[in-house]
Symmetry: C2
Subunit: 353 residues, 2 copies
């Protein structure tokens, strides 16, 4: 079923994987990747890549993406999947205040995929490498009996004094978020609905143009390199920072736990896109719930000292949503009606069911 | 079926994965890992780990291990699997002449595994970290619909002038191998045979004591840190080096291609263990084939300049097996009868079938 959606090329050629051989396949898939970072001393083709960081500190982040858990190939184009697998890792490096420089990508894939499918995946990886200026320096491809498996590790660097930890927030610091929240989650709802329609009637090709923003947020998220650069420009060093992968609630709890603080955020401050709000109405999902628990926004959530606030006040894509309090004050959402609702982490949902 | 073999504890407690939650699970599994390397500035618990390398060069290597492709849980104990997943990555760092310092481990696992099973996996990971002096600094655990998935990335460092590439061999350099060859492959044959017996009669618990060496080489391989240290001590800088994961033939072809050379190795020089030879007889597998194509030995294959040979002559675990020639001379095994047999890579076998 998925090939009709997965391929941009309508009449795909199918080259069986085994025709290239493992080493030939890696070479074939990575031939367009050329190192751009000075720190990349040696890329693909030896036992290990060689990176040099000078006096900076190295950053490492890694993610595993599994078919049926993290993505559904019936509506995720492979090129987007490749792009997203890189972006979610880079997002972690930016969330440390660093700049990513290298990635490794390992892929496990069954013989039901032709070489062209992997090419699309690597096209997306390549696009992300180009956009964010990172070098692919290694990896592994393997047969899989178990659906598509993608593991990405990102390396980055940061001036030692500029690394931003989750644990650095102080009482009174303001909590800000970049961009808007909940749109990737609502995009997922649209894709799941269209999949269900498609399964009943395969002739019914989905028209997603009314939901372009939210679907785009789900399929092709971006990492907020611009925010890290902006903060450097404004000479603001965040006191704590995290990227929003599991959902705002869950990330706030990470920051408060690491910093041993409490926190209050305000429902009416949460930034949401009009299309996302419209979709919440359509799906009868409370928009605050989507913003708090949705996840996969890959926005940056960070705290700044109050005296830095004037530098970012009224910035079009940075929104203050609350502030840190003493630990004993707890972690709360203040609703539009002034009620306090305790926030809880939903990060374990992956293990349910 | 596999639980009876997998668990060392005969009456295992089963704690469902979802009872700990994702973040609780990571914390639980990694609580005994404490950083030992000075370069580990920040480990698990933030978006990315922080490593500092000073003036050294950083090395990165990564591997993906998939159930049903790289391991069979019906006879691989999880503790051994954890150990091996780390060792195969460290082996790549040693093969660059470097010393590994950090690893990240991502695991995808289905709900059929209780927490205790993952604990055994991480016990093995912990053991490898302790033995090789590396720090676990990050990773990811996720639900999987697709069997057990393990992705390990190793970071290491090396003095910039000491990095050993595959491409540095010169005509006339001698080719040496550490340890012995083919035993891991023969161990796999024993385990596959015992599995078949067990499937017919589950009462029949295998007695593997006669095959302890070969089975051990398969289940719990070691990386040759000692060889890298020995070469440093002897002040020998290998001109090229690779670790033997896919098989001697395949690795020799990698070295000759990277160095643009030919090579001759001698059948009667290939180091083999007596138990491995006995097993080859038993299974009617030519021992030269097992040594050349078997793979998973994780020995180091390296070249040295002829003038360094006197320093390693008659060393108990370093065996000279051949030498590099001009590219046009080809890549050959010289048999005991003096025949030349062309070597071919078998590295693509994973994609067959």
């Amino acid at each position: 079923m998925y090939f009709c959606i997965m391929f941009e090329d309508k009449k795909p050629t199918r080259t069986p994987l085994e025709s290239l051989g493992e080493f030939g396949l890696i070479k074939h898939l990575t031939q367009n990747f050329s190192p751009k970072n000075e720190s990349t001393q040696l890329g693909i083709g030896d036992d290990a890549a060689v990176v040099a960081y000078g006096s900076d500190q190295g950053l490492v982040s890694t993610d595993l993406l599994l078919e049926g858990i993290h993505f559904d190939l019936s509506y995720v184009p492979l090129k987007h999947l490749g792009y997203k697998s890189v972006v979610v890792n880079l997002s972690d490096i930016y969330a440390m205040g660093g700049l990513p420089t290298q990635i490794t990508v390992s892929v496990g894939v069954s013989n039901r995929f032709p070489v062209e499918a992997l090419e699309e995946l690597y096209q997306g990886i390549h696009l992300a490498c180009q956009k964010y200026g990172v070098d692919l320096v290694g990896g592994d491809t393997s047969s899989s009996k178990q659906g598509l498996v993608i593991s990405v590790t990102a390396l980055g660097s940061c001036d030692a004094s500029a690394v931003v930890h989750r644990s650095g927030a102080q009482q009174g610091d303001l909590l800000l978020v970049s961009g808007d929240l909940g749109a990737a989650y609502m995009g997922l709802q649209v894709l799941e609905r269209e999949k269900a329609v498609f399964e009943v009637n395969p002739q019914n090709q989905p028209d997603l143009s009314d939901y372009a923003y939210c679907v785009g947020r789900q399929l092709k998220p971006e990492a907020r390199k611009d925010v890290v650069e902006l903060l450097q420009e404004l000479e603001i060093r965040p006191t704590s920072m995290i990227d929003i992968s599991d959902g705002l609630s869950s990330e706030i709890i990470h920051l408060t736990q690491a910093s041993q603080l409490g926190c209050a955020i305000y429902e009416d401050k949460l930034p949401m896109d009009p299309e996302m709000l419209k979709l919440c109405d359509e799906f009868k999902i409370p928009n605050t719930t989507a913003a708090l628990e949705g996840g996969e926004d890959y926005e940056l959530l960070f705290s700044i000292r109050p005296e830095d606030f004037s530098k970012v006040k009224d910035h079009p894509y940075l929104t203050p949503i609350g502030h840190f309090k003493a630990k004993e004050d707890g972690v709360h959402l203040i609703t539009g009606l002034g009620q306090q609702v305790e926030l809880s982490a939903q990060g374990w949902k992956n293990f349910k069911g």
